[in-house]
Amino acid sequence: MSDTADTKQMAYIAAQAADARVNLEIETEGMTLNIGPQHPATHGTLRIVVRLDGEQVISADPLMGYMHRGYEKLTEVRTYPQVTTLVNRIDWLGSFANEVPFILAAEQLMEVEAPPRAQWIRTALFEMSRIANVVLFLGDMGVQLGAVTPVFFAFRDREFILNQIEAVTGGRFHPNFDRIGGLKDDLPKGWIDETRGVLKRIRNFCDEIETLVVGNEIFQSRTRNIGVIPADIGLSYGLSGANIRSSGVDWDIRRDGGVGLVHNELDWKVWTHPDGDSFARFWVRLQEVRESCTMIEQILDGIPSGPVMAKVPRIIKVPAGEAYVETENPLGVMGYYVISKGDLTPFRVKIRSASFNNVSITPWLLKGVYVPDVISILASLYFILGDIDR
């Protein structure tokens, strides 16, 4: 046995010994439990090593990297239009929304602005990818807590939204439709009317979830006062999206200083919840899906006519400079810090993904909770592995 193996062995034995002496007063023995990397409750390959004292978590240590694809490195050898294909795969459930902040950052550096019609369609697709993403969460949260029905409703109704996205972009999951200076194509004929019908379905789905899940006594007792995040702590960990709004922070980039999208021309509301627990996070997301429906309906009514593509060179060279653009994506704030040196490829792109920050709070949050609540808390934080590992 080599030296390294020996030290590893020693470390393992030491950990075992430490486990066994968790609580000397009431003589309980500790235990290390591995949740993941492949576990139905982890949405991918997140592995959490929890040390337990009886049913209580003493420490939780998420281990990632099973799905790291090195996008930040790859962007350095891809042209700007090719990068959108990459970043599509970061949050794969709401992929169109991933493209938008990157395109906006490139547009900011190039000083190009998309024509109004493109901006409106962009916003509609942006919100549709939010619906496609969050609808699945609303169904999935039930499954995590033992209610299987909602997820079937979720998959059933998400299909209609995906069909609408497919009708415009040609892709169900990875549209790759956003271009620097506008959009690849205009809307197909008859799409606007069809979408109105689909939005009605989504609203019905939200009502179903409201009665099936939110009003359910078991669901409430499993989520109320579980995993409470105070606003200040959430902010210092960089939590964003519904996770921070459910802690009472009234902050939404779509309303407060967002660029490039037309949310400020629409009439809608930012929902917050004061509790900061798992229930609040679920409830805020449910309201946000409804709010997205309201937004898309207004867009369908008010969409201006005109071109969908500005005049941009066919070979895109982005002038030297630095830009940081963030948008309110389905999972939270997503931003790209793009550094250009006037080349065909970016010099460096820092991808600020929402789930990375959202999950970084788990070691703090899971300390002291009970094992079944770990699942409820992880589900309610709602992360996508591709968004953590990038």
Binding site: M64, G65, H68, G70, E72, K73, L74, E76, V77, R78, T79, Q82, Q108, P115, G181, D232, I233, L235, S236, Y237, G238, I244, V249, D250, W251, D256, G257, K269, V270, W271, T272, H273, P274, W283, M309, A310, K311, V312, P313, R314, I315, G321, E322, A323, Y324, V333, G335, Y337, I339, L344, T345, R348, K350, R352, F356, N357, S360, I361, W364, D389
Partner: protein, 226 residues
Amino acid sequence: MIQLSSHEETTEEEIEIPKRDDIREDLISKLKDDLGESLVATEIIAEVDVWARVTKEAWLETAQILLTRYNMKYFNFLSAIDWLPSPFGRDMDAQVDQPEPVTPEEMTWGTTGGETRFQLLARVHDPENHLGISLKVDLEDTDLSIESWSSIYPGADWHEREVSEMFGITFLNHPNPVKLYLPGDFEGYPMRKDFALLARRIKPWPGIVDVEDMPGEESEEDEVDA
């Protein structure tokens, strides 16, 4: 049953707010007072963004000041930049059999300038007044270590672990300085510019990066028609 809504502030906001770049100018002038000599360079793009570069000694203090005096409660991200021009030139992104020798380029820096190869880049945000600031700090090649922010912004913990394994920068007083993504015995720092992207070396990539004109296309078609 549950009746909750956001604060409806839209009408208040419309009355009169100072122009965004006034706010940013104000922020910078206050920062100058607070940090003094430690503030090396600043840059403002009106109504878009603001940058500040500080000295390495003042890195921790800057975070403390921004959090306590400027209400920058929101930790956005922390990362690093390697300003070395890629020593591989373009042979990683184009399909070439024989990589051509690359003439070394001069190192150039971006916004707020720089003096060293590595820079840290961080961003914090004020969630109430909707103002964010990007911060940079130079790191000497001979001493790639800096104070950790995790005592001030706990969220910096994971970001610093990522920077540490990807760029080889050491964070002092970090609570848990282990690798985040990479396996424990991984050698090298993948995000450095001189770390070859091996996948490109082993297997030629069919998508040549440089877009060439289609045959028969004139230069007037260089612009996409509306």
